[in-house]
């Protein structure tokens, strides 16, 4: 077959597309450059103001200092513990509450819903809360983080909205088979809700891990603070712990920032859909 003179028409490249790609790259860089500078400088022994793609003078001293300084690793461990427990408690309470709120033939269900919703409109405020926590001996204890974030009405409502999507016939069938409410909860509701548990669990985890102000308000004992508090105190209030390492302040600061964001940044690319899904669970019902 002879070659024909036919040529596929070239896809027209609009100016707009080029502009769009440039804008895309710019937006991406605006977000990534600050983060990349933090990471690079955490490995750089000399503090420079310029943006470098790679560290000039590679060092791990910043991280070594954090691992070996009690005032720095202790808050990190506290953060891990409170985040784990806060997430567990949060998931427990929001699944229990959400499940009870879909029991439509339960007398008092509406009152329970209003009992919960009222807390979203009105609150006692910072000081009355502080005084209650003081009476409960939770001031100056890291458990305040677990207790305070474990009960979250907003997440409970998200969980309820998700449960509402489970077909009621499944519950009825289980009930006829003689399954108790607890049995239905553990054998049917929870296994069907893995995606919601992942997203809402991540929301709890991010909240507890990232909390700074609760610690600032309630905790003064340096053994009980979390990593976010220690980080901000060190960088912005000049409260740098003494260490045996001769590490440049800049390197230590940036390494601490990396440690504070590492857990979620490491998980983020793999769990992005769960991170983002939380927003949409609430919108499913409509």
């Amino acid at each position: 077959m002879a070659k024909t003179a036919y040529r596929k028409p070239k896809k027209k490249v609009h100016v707009f597309d080029i502009v769009n790609y440039i804008v895309f790259i710019l937006i991406g860089l605006l977000v990534l450059v600050p983060i990349w500078k933090v990471v690079v400088d955490s490995f750089n022994a000399v503090g420079v103001y310029q943006f470098r793609l790679w560290p000039e003078d590679f060092t791990l001293d910043g991280y070594k200092t954090i691992i070996h300084t009690q005032r720095l690793y202790r808050p990190f461990i506290n953060s891990v513990i409170t985040t784990a427990l806060g997430t567990l408690l949060g998931l427990l309470l929001s699944t229990l509450g959400g499940y009870v709120l879909i029991q439509f033939d339960m007398p008092g269900r509406n009152s329970f819903a209003y009992f919960l919703l009222f807390t979203m409109i009105f609150s006692g405020g910072m000081i009355p809360e502080y005084l209650v926590m003081k009476q409960l001996h939770l001031v100056n204890s890291m458990w305040i983080l677990v207790v305070k974030h474990g009960m979250n009405v907003y997440n409970l409502v998200l969980m309820r909205n998700f449960f509402e999507g489970i077909p009621a016939s499944l519950f009825e069938a289980a009930e006829i088979d003689g399954c108790s409410p607890m049995g239905i909860f553990f054998k049917i509701v929870l296994p069907l809700s893995k995606a919601a548990l992942a997203s809402i669990g991540l929301m709890f985890a991010v909240t507890v891990w990232n909390d700074y102000s609760t610690v600032k308000i309630y905790i003064t004992n340096p053994d009980q603070v979390n990593f976010q508090y220690q980080l901000r105190n060190m960088i912005m209030d000049g409260d740098t712990p003494t260490t045996q390492y001769s590490v440049s302040q800049n390197t230590l600061f940036y390494a601490a920032i990396v440690c504070a964001i590492l857990p979620f940044m490491a998980l983020y690319p793999f769990l992005q859909k769960y991170f983002v899904k939380g927003v949409n669970i609430g919108a499913v019902k409509e």
Binding site: N20, Y21, G125, Y212
Partner: protein, 321 residues
């Protein structure tokens, strides 16, 4: 048996209702499951509400509370720092809301126009990222970048570009009343724009493609399609987002708390940070006064929620709580 209540549903089917006692007994498992939630809500939310009475008491860390009536409210309304904090709360949160909503809309439109799905997904992944960083981390990063020391990125670049003289002292951005607010808004844009696009992208994905086809047939340019199809479709969502967030303007706390310092109280202090300092940063706090300010904040917040709830019902047919 004749006393058994009979209920007729809307379809006319007669339903025999079990007596209340039996229904409660049948649901005992569920009450048991609600118990832990009930206890937590009671202790964490309702018990503090009882403490609101201290707004009418003198209550110091030592000594018993004494009733003083409205004294704290009189002194609060006569305090300049309180009014400044109230104004700042409204100004900062409303400006922040408008600016980040605006940038989120712009970025979503660009994302929506991107034909290359891989590029789109990648950029989405990137711009959601800062939302998951804590305010403490973001404040730390930007305070290092903006630091006037020799390692501060921004001041270094300003010297390189000749805007600052090479030997000039760096600008202390976060301690400057002129710079603090612009920096605050920029940091908010950096942190929250990406996350804000989610809801707008969902709306854009729901636009009927026929609208674009019709516009094509009419010979609309890309810009015209954005202007006459995309933007009107977004209008409702923008209003929803504004209403939802307007209800929360009094809550502004952590973002300011991590970024402000005593040099910039006049432009940055908000109600919650004011309460914090009146309680935890002075030698002899009066819990009564802080509680009174907190009560004022809660009441304004409550009114805002109810107003926004009403507005939301009007505009989109369902409330926000």
């Amino acid at each position: 048996m004749s006393k058994k209540k009979k209920i007729t549903t809307s379809t006319g089917v007669e339903v025999r209702h079990k007596p209340l006692g039996l229904r409660i007994w049948n649901n005992r498992g569920y009450y048991l499951m609600f118990l832990p939630v009930f206890v937590f809500i009671l202790v964490m939310y309702y018990w503090p509400m009882l403490g609101i009475r201290y707004a009418f008491y003198d209550y110091k860390p030592v000594g018993a509370p004494t009733f003083v009536g409205l004294k704290h409210f009189y002194s609060m309304f006569k305090t300049d720092a309180f009014w400044s904090a109230f104004r700042n709360t409204l100004e900062l949160s409303i400006m922040k809301l408008l600016i980040t909503t605006f940038t989120a809309v712009i970025v979503s439109i660009f994302l929506n126009e991107m034909g290359n799905l891989f590029a789109k997904k990648t950029l989405q992944t990137i711009i959601y990222l800062p939302h998951f960083m804590s305010w403490a981390v973001v404040a730390s990063i930007f305070s290092l970048f903006l630091s006037p020391s020799s390692t501060g990125l921004v001041n270094g670049l300003l010297r390189d570009w000749g805007i600052l003289a090479p030997d000039a002292k760096g600008i202390y951005f976060l301690a400057s009343t002129a710079w603090w607010r612009p920096i605050f808004y920029l940091i908010n844009i950096w942190k929250e724009t990406g996350w804000g696009t989610i809801i707008f992208l969902a709306t854009l994905a729901g636009i009927n493609p026929e609208l674009y086809e019709a516009a094509d047939i009419d010979g609309a340019t890309r810009m015209q399609k954005m202007r006459f199809v995309t933007l009107p479709a977004l209008a409702n969502t923008i209003i929803t987002v504004l209403i939802l967030n307007l209800a929360k303007v009094m809550n502004m706390f952590e973002s300011v708390f991590v970024l402000y310092n005593n040099a910039v109280y006049s432009v940055s202090d908000v109600i919650s940070t004011y309460i914090y300092r009146q309680t935890f940063a002075i030698a002899l706090p009066n819990y009564g006064y802080s509680t009174a300010v907190g009560l004022f904040k809660s009441l304004v917040g409550c009114v805002l929620v109810l107003v926004c709830n009403w507005a939301s019902k009007k505009t989109r047919g369902r409330g926000i709580v």
